[in-house]
Symmetry: C2
Subunit: 446 residues, 2 copies
């Protein structure tokens, strides 16, 4: 069997490795348009923060190791350009300009996502960059090394923007952040997002919500980010306005698309073509709370979906449960986490949500070093189920969220969750775990 | 209605407060044999570690606050001595020697537990102490203040022993630990418990497993702990050999006892007498994994059971799901956690357990500051269910265990758990959360 994979990062290389483990005789070919495979993309902001660390530290396994130790044909610099599902052929061109053509029995599209870059004047200036591929990270790192970057403007205030803001502050770069919407993290309760805003401000990050960047102008060797009522000087601009799925190839071959133009897949990761699978940032997923299709491109799902594709093409039927949208990120000394639905998403999905917002402590009564933990827990009045949680604190947030994720997978009610036997010791939390306190408060409103 | 409560710590005061909230007209009386109510017993080792902190910092709410703000009749220094279930009367004596007698409509026995002190020569010397009540903590703290304690011997190597060992080392006391059994923590895989042993040794704690303390002798102003083949000098001895339930009063009134002589309660916390409830360290519980009775005295259960008793006597029917035995403790810089069954417990409960023991990292590939996390996950071959997890590491253990506790409450299979959407960001873990890696490894053996 010929297994062809488009894309050599999380989903693609997970599928390639697992297919070879499942079936060492299978011919596995990976077409990767960049020069890099199998790297920790999420680690880039932390690597960029430290000028002393080479960006290639983030490569988990070199292409040669896949080739020589695992017998996977990894072709970097190979960009797939068109797909013929009827003839089962992928054509494209390699970075040295040569055309290629590959036949397949089974195809995995794991083409990832691309940063959203608006088509506006100046967004193509050399000092304007985005962060998605390792090569993007390499460029940013080189730019910081080769230019005297005193001021940076980050357009966007999502995960990547916030993580990069911390990285740039660690390198003593002044940071302005700008976005059109009026609120820092609109999916959070103000009581929680205010904590993040204060943390950013106390680290001298200047936030400018409510300002739309309309163009970027080169000026005196630097740049100016121009908004209707404001302009910001910058030696470097990071565009962190989110990503979009790389689904053009699939769309061009009439494969069905889904939410946000991601590639529609079933629980087996199969697309609308029986020989074509999709996984990773280019594919959609079922949300375990709503049961509906969603598109939340995150690393764990990409890896897991890669494995599932490999198992399915090797005859071991695997269906994925779906995703809860569990996510965590660090903002300076804060841990911020979420899983499941926000209030807005809950309303949109047809639920009758009710929320509790609590403030409790990270350690037991009278234990030194305690800091506040803030939690929003959302329940459904009709069914009693937990729908989602968002949390912010200086410690004890990142891993605590997982208890709720597991509860969501089990469609637990707030009441049942409030009865769970969670761990307690004074250095790690109050007797009533913050999540239990949130559940107890929420119960009163249900 | 007259609601009488024996015992004024976690379970007792939780019940008292909640009963008054539920029904402000109820007459609520608490008989507490010591001078203290409502304190964080688990915080004592951390308080003892710091000579500058008064032990009364650990009092969560003073008796006067319960009396004046909540209208609860809190009688400290009141020791209940006998119980007449037919006449619904408790008699006893107060610390000033006066006899008392109280009638009740509903009685809660929340008498807690007592340290196990063997009846051996010298265990009653003034420098030999245990740690359970706040008064025990007060005595230890005073002893450390008033004596020049250079060397301590801790008899026992359980949670309390280990936490106190850290506290004493923080005060520059040399510590020897001794226990009859051959292994530090017999419920753990050696691969995990070895990490704890190394942590203790690197903090200059001397461990002597396999030695039974037979007597303690006073000598030259100090003491000697005598074992058959060894003796250890001590300025202070801590007996940390576990606790036993204070169930004598219940037993004397022919109330049914259960595992380890704890008081048998149903899911409503009712005892074999319809007007008598029991909660906290003196009562048993259902184990959510086995469905069988168990006795695992921990603080969260005590608080929760206190609430449930109050709700039940106020007419709001509450049944508790049971406990998973989730526990966490700190040993110097290590976090140690467990939930559910050990291999031995699983075999005893009739399961066909299979285990995976893994070593992974606390942070993502190439993220600075990563430390090892070791996990044992146990599954049941017949049903595919997760039965329990034990974990050790320097970070990311204490709260991670809760995801497994929630899985146990939902009787999840290892396979279903392996599909859960857990959080990922490089500072907080690998893409595949350590628990998912453990589940993936365990799946291969099931």
């Amino acid at each position: 069997m010929k297994f062809l994979i488009i894309g050599g990062d999380a989903a693609g290389m997970s599928a390639a490795s697992r297919a070879k483990r499942n079936n060492p005789d299978m011919g596995v070919t990976v077409l990767e348009k960049t020069a890099d495979v199998s790297y920790s993309a999420c680690g880039m902001p932390y690597n960029i923060a430290d000028p002393g660390r080479p960006i290639d530290d983030l490569v988990v396994r070199q292409a040669d190791v896949f080739r020589e130790k695992q017998g996977i044909s990894v072709l970097t610099g190979h960009c797939a350009e068109s797909l013929d599902p009827a003839g089962r052929i992928v054509t494209g061109a390699s970075s040295d300009g040569k055309a290629f053509q590959f036949a397949y029995d089974k195809l995995l599209i794991a083409a990832g996502g691309s940063p959203v870059i608006p088509d506006l004047p100046g967004f193509d200036l050399p000092g304007v960059m985005a962060l998605k591929s390792l090569d993007d990270g390499r460029k940013i790192k080189a730019y910081l090394k080769n230019h005297h970057v005193k001021k940076a403007v980050i357009i966007g205030m999502g995960y990547i923007g916030l993580e990069m803001c911390e990285a740039l502050r660690a390198r003593s770069v002044e940071v302005d952040m700008v976005k059109p919407g009026p609120v820092l993290l609109p999916w959070m309760e103000p009581e929680l997002s205010d904590v993040i805003r204060e943390e950013l401000e106390s680290n001298n990050v200047r936030l400018h919500p409510g300002h739309q960047a309309e163009r970027i102008e080169a000026e005196n060797g630097g740049m100016k980010v121009i908004c209707p009522n404001m302009s910001l000087d910058a030696d470097m601009v990071l565009v962190a306005m989110g990503i979009k799925p790389n689904s053009e190839l699939a769309a061009g071959a009439n494969i069905a698309l889904s939410v946000n133009n991601s590639i529609a897949v079933d629980r087996r990761l199969g697309t609308s073509d029986e020989n074509i699978y999709a996984a990773g940032d280019c594919a959609d997923a079922y949300h375990i709370v709503t049961g509906e299709k969603t598109w939340i491109p995150l690393a764990l799902r990409a890896n897991r979906a890669g494995w599932a594709v490999a198992d399915n093409i090797c005859g071991k039927e695997v269906e994925l449960a779906g995703i809860a949208g569990t996510a965590v990120f660090k903002v300076f000394d804060l841990e911020v986490a979420r899983t499941g639905l926000t209030i807005k998403e809950a309303v949109k999905s047809g639920s009758d949500p009710v929320k509790a917002v609590i403030r409790t402590r990270s350690r037991a009564h009278a234990h030194p070093g305690s800091t506040p933990i803030r939690i929003q827990m959302i329940g459904d009045k009709e069914t009693g189920r937990i729908l989602g949680v968002q949390m912010v604190g200086r410690e004890g947030v990142a891993h605590r969220i997982n208890a709720v994720a597991v509860a969501l997978h089990n469609r637990m009610t707030v009441e049942a969750f409030s009865q769970t036997d969670l761990a307690y010791a004074p250095p790690f939390g109050p007797v009533w775990d913050p999540l239990l306190t949130a559940a107890n408060q929420l119960l009163k409103k249900m």
